[in-house]
């Protein structure tokens, strides 16, 4: 991938939305960047880390989003321009600090980018982060494409310094991960000297909260004034449209496509807003006055819709009767991603036009075109994934123990353990670290008759992020559970970012390694380490731990991520199936490996009715040889 500094000002470069955000920050003279990885936000910091040395900026992967925001705020307090990036769930983690930072304000421009994930394509929820801007009373920008993402980011630093507070940018997956041509501007080095020098008594403290709150309201009003003339808001369409669409972000593109496909350019107007909080009231009123029918198109919640109605409520006498359509009217869904089809449906129904639907056999045609190239396979763990092996042993240990033990889950690749390739072992999944928090609570229910063994899992990165306080809570409150730390030495799900346990910094340079084992040991709990590929030993250790006499126990299941191994090591084994020995569908096997274990490296041969290894996919971990009841899966040292 080409670096985001590869081209000079004036050139055009094909950039992912997240790269464009990073480029925009560099064009604004960025000095400091921090983030915790989380899709769809991860590439922002990733692409900044790649050019950190060259641009002489500081870039770090922080242990969590709150710390990331705090670190970036420190840079801002010292006068440096800073950016912090996170996914929607991360904003929740950071919000405790954010809800105080807004009051104390900032010095150097501080831009908080939050990338939402409508439909939860790589998330546990599809939370709309925009209400956070209203809640925190901070300005919010919503880019629609890569070019705008760059321009808005660059400008957000100026706005932040103008109002002396944080500026939020909200992206969505289809902006962050889409690529588009971006006309580049000048790269500006961070030529500011960092110095902490408060200009007021208690400037960065909660001294005089109501006064600071009043300041904040003034700041947001100032932002509103500035937004009135923002180039990120514009109208296209007839002077007096039959229907006015008010939209923002990627929904603007869906609206454009819908209107064009329906051939309604002369009767439907589109007001595209880039500054969605606070709303530029005058500008919005001026466009609302064009019509009496307004359709609001946005993802996911009716945030803009509600704010527009609020605004109309305040200025009802000036505007006259207006009818709003959108999510509240049921013309658009309040869940999931939008697409041009859904918008077309809403417009057609509102204007009584016949809907131009996609060809009825579109999906079939698309499938026919790609079907031969893509193997039908459900979402699941990779070939050779250590999580599959660990959860296999967890499943067996819990079954053998037989007391109704269960696993509370957490956030990472291993979240897939809630599905078939993790043998449905994860029974709860909520926020980062909440598996251990839940375990800590379950483990205290014994007085209420609870006698089920409690297990919880977290990854190594999640351990640092939010598990540690929950673990300490369990120790302090003498709870009773077993924490399995799935240490694959990577933040694998988000793209192999380093973390405090990997011994590398965001720039790939050596960094101190935090020893998970020693850290847990220092809490005075029993700590065992296992190699998940040794199924027998892992199952035995799990049984020992589960059946131990109460307290908090930790099992570190340590094996590098299969994808990291593929880059760093040769496969350990050559694996093949002796089809003479394979019992296949017969009594004594019933396709255990392809039906239950379900490593994608194992495939079922419909002709021979035996299992076979897909050599392209097999990672050579050799674990399947240990589950085959007929010893038909042979592993030989590679």
């Amino acid at each position: 991938m080409t670096s985001i500094t590869a081209y000079e000002s004036g050139a055009s470069q094909l950039l992912m939305g997240n790269e464009a955000i990073a480029r925009g920050a560099l064009e604004a003279g960025l000095g400091f960047a921090s983030a915790y990885p989380g899709n769809p936000s991860s590439e922002i910091l990733g692409s900044l880390a790649e050019v950190a040395s060259e641009m002489d900026i500081y870039v770090e992967w922080s242990v969590n989003e709150k710390v990331a925001l705090e670190a970036a705020a420190a840079a801002s307090f010292a006068g440096v321009r800073a950016i912090v990036a996170m996914k929607q769930n991360g904003l929740n983690v950071a919000s405790d600090f954010l809800m105080n930072l807004n009051l104390t304000g900032t010095v150097g421009g501080l831009v908080l980018v939050v990338c939402d994930d409508p439909s939860g394509l790589s998330s546990t929820n599809e939370q709309d982060s925009r209400p956070a801007a209203k809640w925190a009373e901070l300005p919010l920008l919503e880019p629609a494409d890569s070019q705008e993402a760059k321009e808005m980011t660059k400008w957000a630093f100026e706005l932040s310094e103008e109002i002396k507070d944080v500026c939020l940018i909200r992206s969505v997956t289809r902006v962050s991960h889409a690529r588009g041509d971006v006309r580049l501007g000048e790269l500006v080095p961070p030529n500011r000297e960092a110095r902490f020098a408060p200009t007021m008594l208690g400037q960065f403290t909660p001294l005089l909260v109501p006064i600071k709150h009043n300041f904040l309201l003034q700041k947001v009003n100032k932002a509103r004034e500035i937004f009135e003339s923002s180039p990120f808001n514009w109208y296209t369409g007839p002077e007096k449209p039959e229907l006015l669409i008010v939209t923002c972000g990627s929904s603007w593109y869906y609206s454009l496509e819908a209107v064009k496909t329906l051939g309604l350019e002369s009767s439907v107007g589109i007001l595209k807003l880039g500054t969605t909080w606070p709303l530029p009231e005058k500008l919005v009123q001026q466009h609302l006055a064009r019509t009496d029918k307004v359709l609001v198109v946005e993802e996911v919640d009716p945030f803009l819709e509600g704010n527009l109605k609020e605004l109309v409520g305040d200025t009802f006498s000036a505007l006259g009767p207006l009818t709003f359509y959108g999510k509240r009217s049921g013309h658009l869904p309040s869940f999931g991603e939008l697409d041009p089809d859904r918008v077309m449906e809403a417009i057609s129904s509102l204007l009584g036009r016949e809907r131009v639907a996609v060809e009825p056999d579109y999906a079939k045609k698309a499938q026919a075109l790609t079907g031969g190239l893509v193997q039908a396979r459900m979402i699941g763990f990779c070939a050779g994934c250590p999580h599959r092996a660990t959860l296999w042993s967890v499943k067996n240990a819990l079954k053998l123990d037989g007391r109704g033990g269960f696993v509370t889950g957490d956030i990472g690749c291993y979240t897939l353990g809630l599905g078939p390739t993790g043998f449905f072992q994860l029974k709860t999944v909520q926020a980062m670290g909440s598996g251990t928090g839940l375990a800590s609570g379950f483990g205290k229910l014994d007085k209420l008759g609870f006698d089920q063994p409690v297990l919880t899992v977290c990854g190594d990165s999640t351990f640092f992020h939010a598990t540690i306080p929950a673990l300490i809570n369990g120790v302090y409150n003498q709870s009773n559970f077993t924490l399995i730390i799935l240490d694959n030495s990577a933040t694998a799900m988000t793209g192999f970012q380093p973390h405090p346990g990997t011994g590398a910094s965001a720039l790939g340079e050596p960094a101190p390694t935090v020893d998970i084992e020693a850290l847990c040991g220092s809490l005075g709990v029993r700590v065992e380490v296992t190699d998940p590929f040794d199924l027998q030993d892992t199952t035995q250790k799990l049984l020992d731990l589960i059946q131990d006499d109460g307290g908090v126990r930790v099992l570190i299941s340590r094996r590098k991520c299969a994808l990291v191994r593929a880059k760093e090591e040769k496969p350990a084994y050559k694996v093949w199936v002796d089809s003479e020995k394979c019992r296949g569908e017969n009594c004594g096997c019933a396709r255990l490996c392809t039906r239950i274990f379900q490593c994608p490296g194992l495939v079922w041969d419909d002709e021979t009715h035996t299992a076979k290894i897909d050599e392209v996919i097999c990672s050579g971990c050799g674990v399947c040889a240990d589950i085959c009841p007929a010893s038909a899966i042979i592993r030989e040292a590679a």
Partner: protein
């Protein structure tokens, strides 16, 4: 006449979920799904086959006693107190060393060793306990190994898992020392209509043990651990009535536990059992009540008869007629077990037409209950 053929799901539903499992081990050791663990059969994953050896071999599914009797003895099921009987005698091992370690007369140990020595079998599947008194099936190919397994511990053991496992290997002639439910399972293996014969033709000898009940491991171990360190236990015994005791021997002495204290650990499936004397074994061995140091031995099959006669001829065991009153008492005890079992079954199902796992003609049921 045929055994019902179903799969692992039905086994779980009809037997495991209803706590009818005897832990004989017949369903274990053949596949990756069913395993025995500390006194339980556990299904690790769902097998989706509709026909499985596990279901067919289970002594608590579709137990067609007529079919089994025809298969094993070539005659219909007797439906009397003791099943097929050629002869009943009293026996004991001549070797005092065997007698001192074994329960009662040491007949089982002596005959098993003899069968190995004579080449009737080349290995014996027996039951041995680990350091924590957890019993499991084990393979003996020498007299020493057989002697190490002597004695009873009254805990149900998945012994047949070892048969299933070992029969897959090179061993050709296998003998099994089996409890009544294990002997039933072995008979079901012989009568199985499945294509997979489970190497049952390698089974050459079944020495059955009298049994009135077996205990659950987990509960017993937890109970005993408070009284005696499990690792120090060397032997158990239940002396003849009226003692009503479970004697636990360690190297440093004996602890007597009232039998009533351990009765709650009896497996519920023992309450629906109607076979006290291992009716589908080649020979069945138990205590000889009132005659210390001797066994009661029921010879059932020709194989059993030949073995006993050869052992007697070679001076391995000695035999003497079992007193008539002992025979009467044995029949009475066995019939009582059948009646209790049948009544419990009928009480459970609420109908004498539905006998849970038993396939027995209603005249036979009436006959046993009258």
């Amino acid at each position: 006449m045929a055994l019902e053929v179903k799969g692992c799901r039905e086994l779980q539903r009809e037997v495991l979920a209803r706590d009818l499992c005897t832990l004989c081990g017949a369903c274990v050791g053949m596949c990756p799904y069913l395993v025995a663990y500390r006194g339980r059969v556990v299904a690790l994953d769902e097998c989706d086959l509709t026909q499985g050896r596990c279901y067919v071999f289970c002594p608590r599914t579709s137990l067609d006693l007529d079919l089994l009797s025809q298969t094993v003895f070539g005659v219909p099921y007797a439906a009397d107190e003791l099943g097929t009987v050629q002869e009943i005698v009293m026996t004991r091992a001549r070797d005092e060393g065997i007698r001192s370690k074994a329960q009662f007369g040491g007949t089982v140990t002596a005959l098993t060793s003899f069968a190995l020595d004579q080449g009737l079998i080349d290995s014996a599947v027996l039951t041995a306990s680990d350091a924590n008194i957890l019993p499991s099936g084990t393979l003996a190919i020498s007299t020493t190994q057989v002697r190490n397994c002597a004695g009873s511990n009254f805990v149900a053991a998945p012994t047949l898992a070892a048969f299933n496992r070992e029969a897959e290997g090179d061993i050709q002639r296998i003998g099994v020392v089996a409890t009544p439910c294990q002997a039933l399972a072995l008979a079901k293996m012989r009568a199985s209509p499945l294509e997979n014969r489970n190497n049952i033709d390698k089974l050459k000898l079944v020495i059955g043990l009298f049994c009135t009940w077996a205990l659950r491991y987990e509960e017993l171990a937890r109970f005993l651990a408070d009284k005696v360190p499990l690792r120090q236990i060397v032997k158990f015994d239940i002396p003849p009535p009226p003692a009503n005791l479970l004697q636990v021997f360690t190297n440093s002495g004996r602890t007597d536990i009232p039998l009533d204290d351990v009765r709650p650990f009896v497996r519920p499936t023992c309450d629906v059992c109607i076979d006290m004397t291992a009716e589908f074994a080649d020979i069945s061995v138990g205590s000889a009540e009132g005659v210390e140091g001797w066994n009661t031995l029921i010879i059932r099959s020709d194989v059993g008869k030949e073995l006993v006669e050869a052992a007697r001829a070679k001076g391995v065991i000695e035999t003497t007629p079992l007193p008539e009153q002992n025979i009467a008492h044995l029949k009475e005890a066995s019939l009582l077990k059948k009646q209790r079992g049948l009544k419990k079954i009928i009480e459970t199902t609420g109908s004498d037409e539905d006998l849970l796992y038993l396939k027995l003609a209603s005249e036979a049921v009436k006959g046993l209950l009258s």
